[in-house]
């Protein structure tokens, strides 16, 4: 009786045996170590610079049909701004159209004849702006900057005019200004948002890709049968497979976080232990996901296809690049089963906001729940395929 109860319990020695086996396999595969470190570093460095919505140096074409002091003054404001690069000074409307059509310029500014005259008369003078809306995000932000520069010009001109004509300011327009107070990221630096996000994204891809082949590979090369005839139980096998991947994953996270902090200089103001806890739970849920894929598939080809099938939506529906609040309700609900969604909140929260457990506990709990469900599912699923 007692012996039976004992044998049905998890045997640590058997789990340890699997762990040792996995490490030996990894050690033999010289390529694996290279594959784990070098591409991760390269990707982190590349993507850290690539992922940004900031808008600088918008290629701009200008057409001045007024040739007045005022028009030159206005256009020089754009030349001086780092947001705009004047790449073409056009002579005709047709040249402007060609520049936008051909993609040489994303913004075109046209000052029509009579601009200065209207201004001097105190009438509304138009500045025509043509924007290539292909990338609506860039277009929207660039338009915002055009408006800011134009408003600054208009303001200066109005004050100037009022002083000159009336001596004292007559009826000033009512002004309500809005002051910017960007918390957590005073300079609105885009890297501070995306680099922490990349930590989660890269980890997800690496870990799922590693673990998805863990069992199906043994199945396909026939070593799974050897394991099956040994006294190892499904729970022990899955747990034994989990430990090495977890260790590798923690190493990867540490590597990527180090690049983020040391190379990209993203400030880390939070509690490192909260990040460690969040990363551990995230790793557990992603490698459980990979293992589940591995038990569901009978060939490596299928596991490979499944990876794409799963990773792409996880990536897009995580809030990494597309705000979740802008998605339709149904899709927003679907993001609740995505561990990356929670991890991104934890990472960004600990890095930039410095919030702790009191704020992040729902995210941590959700990741723990996902990890538990997925691990249980893969153990059950594996047991079933054995029978």
């Amino acid at each position: 009786m007692l012996e039976h109860a004992l044998s049905s319990r998890l045997k640590f020695a058997r789990i340890a045996a699997i762990v040792v086996k996995e490490f030996i396999e990894l050690k033999r595969d010289k390529w694996a170590r290279f594959r784990l470190i070098v591409p991760t570093l390269i990707q982190m460095l590349l993507f850290g610079y690539a992922a940004t919505y900031e808008v600088y140096h918008v290629s701009t074409a200008v057409l001045d049909l007024d040739h007045s002091q005022e028009s030159r003054e206005l256009l020089s404001l754009f030349t001086a701004s780092t947001r705009f690069d004047v790449v073409k000074v056009a002579q005709t409307q047709r040249e402007i159209a060609a520049a936008i059509d051909g993609g040489d310029a994303a913004v075109a500014l046209v000052v029509h004849a009579g601009f200065a005259e209207l201004l001097r008369k105190g009438q509304s003078a138009p500045l025509q702006v043509i924007v290539d809306g292909t990338n609506s995000n860039t277009a929207l932000i660039a338009l915002g900057y055009v408006n800011v520069i134009a408003a600054g010009f208009a303001q200066d001109y109005a004050t100037d005019l009022a002083e000159r004509t009336l001596g004292v300011s007559g009826m000033n327009p009512v002004q309500v200004t809005i002051e910017q107070r960007p918390w957590f990221n005073e300079d609105l630096n885009g890297q501070w948002f995306f680099v922490p996000g990349l930590i989660g994204t890269l980890t997800l891809v690496i870990i799922v890709n590693l673990t998805a082949f863990a069992i199906v590979r043994e199945r396909e090369i026939g070593t799974l049968e050897q394991i099956m005839v040994s006294p190892i139980r499904p729970v022990e096998l899955i747990l034994g497979k989990t430990v090495p991947f977890f260790a590798i994953g923690l190493g990867e996270v540490a590597l990527i976080v180090a690049v983020g902090i040391l190379w990209f200089q993203v400030p880390f103001v939070g509690n490192p232990f909260v990040l460690l806890l969040g990363s551990s739970l995230f790793l557990l849920s992603t490698l459980a996901l990979g293992l589940l894929i591995s038990t569901l598939c009978s060939t490596q080809q299928q596991a490979f296809s499944m990876n794409f099938f799963v990773l792409n939506p996880f990536f897009i529906l995580s809030g990494f690049s597309f705000p979740i609040s802008s998605m339709p309700k149904v899709l927003q609900w679907m993001t609740y089963i995505n561990p990356l969604r929670y991890y991104l909140i934890v990472i960004r929260g600990t890095f930039l906001k410095g919030v702790g457990l009191s704020v992040l506990w729902p995210e941590l709990a959700a990741m723990a729940a996902i990890a538990f469900v997925l691990l249980a599912a893969s153990i059950l699923r594996f047991r079933k395929t054995l029978e």
Binding site: R35, N147, Q180, I316
Partner: protein
């Protein structure tokens, strides 16, 4: 190259695909469902940005300002807070991404000096949302200012004077409503095709090695070129099907305007598919083990395609070095082509540059693959 041998390989590959219906289903269903699902997810347009208000004055004027925010489709007031710590807590917990703070002397300043200011506290941990939210908030506030001015003028019985000395008349071309979906969905087609294509072929040779059927293949008189084209052909047909699904969903279901010609789309899509499939094939030849092949394929396609192809993050905003790197990302050319075909209706001649790059890519990969595939057992 003999056509009958090429055909034999193609037939063999078709049979192999046919006998693994689960993989076939995945290959056909994957792009379809992803396109359908993710088409809704790829949206950068911000609406109903959650706002907390902190009214330190509680006057009629300050409440009128908040009404303007409430009326805007870009904002949704989720809470009224009564202290800075409360505002801080709301932003910490991501309950709101913008806090509008009205100072205690708001009405006084507005009535006496005609000028007052409010504070926009932004959760800048997401800088893009913060930037755009601030732009919208500025527009709301200036709308409010002219409202206040109008009522003042009304009260004083004066006539309206010129308020704005200059107006910006903006026109947007190609994507007239500035809908982010219109430029991201064509890019999404390219991304999905790049992902599907690479995984279709990347296992085709390593599978032969791992299952031991390579020895059989080598003992036949078939030539390396015949193996390659024979293996690519069935997948090209599958790629056409997948691409047709995705493009149809983009244009018909999501209503992204298509302004180019069908011929141009067919030609460029075929070229892109050929590049993607032959890269998968090359990897398959180069790396013997299936795990190795798939990991490299994943590393080369997944994240680089998403982050460096220009499908969301504009390439011209990247640092020069990274821009140079993007020339290696074959998806960038197709992303550019599909976007231009959809929104600009570009002709083949206007797309000559990216098409040339794709052709060069296709040639290079084919030559490399043919060189790498040696009929030897070592």
């Amino acid at each position: 190259m003999r056509f009958c041998r090429l055909k034999a390989i193609a037939v063999k590959e078709v049979l192999q695909i046919w006998r693994d219906p689960r993989s076939l289903m995945i290959a056909l269903l994957l792009p379809f469902t992803q396109m359908f699902l993710l088409g809704y997810g790829v949206n950068l347009d911000l609406k109903h940005i959650p706002v907390c208000t902190f009214d330190r004055e509680g006057s009629q004027l300050s409440q009128a300002l908040f009404k303007h925010f409430q009326a805007s489709q870009y904002f949704a007031i989720v809470r009224n807070v009564s202290s800075y710590p409360e505002l801080r807590a709301a932003i910490d917990a991501a309950d709101c991404s913008l806090g509008i703070v009205v100072p205690p002397d708001f009405s006084e300043r507005l009535n006496d000096a005609g000028a007052a200011s409010v504070q926009a506290v932004l959760d800048a941990s997401d800088d893009n949302t913060a930037n755009i939210a601030f732009g919208y908030a500025s527009a709301v506030v200036s709308g409010y200012a002219s409202d206040v001015q109008l009522t003042q003028i009304d009260r004083q019985g004066r006539t309206l004077q010129q308020i704005e000395p200059m107006v910006v008349q903006s026109r947007v071309w190609f994507n007239e409503d500035l809908e982010s979906r219109n430029f991201i969905i064509p890019g999404l087609v390219a991304v999905i095709m790049a992902l599907v294509g690479a995984q279709l072929t990347s296992l085709t040779i390593s599978r032969e090695w791992e299952r031991g059927t390579m020895e059989l293949l080598i003992s036949t008189p078939v030539q390396p070129n015949e193996v390659m084209f024979g293996k690519l052909l069935p997948y090209l047909v599958m790629g056409w099907l997948d691409a047709a699904f995705c493009l149809a969903i983009a244009a018909l279901w999501f209503g992204v305007p298509y302004r180019g010609t069908i011929a141009a789309l067919f030609l460029t899509t075929t070229l892109f598919l050929f590049v993607v499939l032959s890269i998968g094939y090359l990897l398959s030849v180069l790396i013997r083990s299936q795990v190795g092949a798939s990991q490299i394929a994943l590393l080369l396609t997944m994240l680089p395609t998403m982050l460096l192809s220009g499908y969301v993050f504009p390439i011209d905003q990247m640092p020069k070095v990274i821009q140079d790197v993007t020339y290696l990302i074959y998806s960038r050319y197709y992303v550019e082509i599909v976007k231009d075909l959809f929104l600009k209706g570009s002709s083949i001649t206007e797309l000559a540059m990216p098409i040339m790059f794709l052709i060069v890519y296709a040639l290079a990969v084919t030559v490399l693959a043919a060189r790498a595939f040696r009929k030897r057992l070592d």
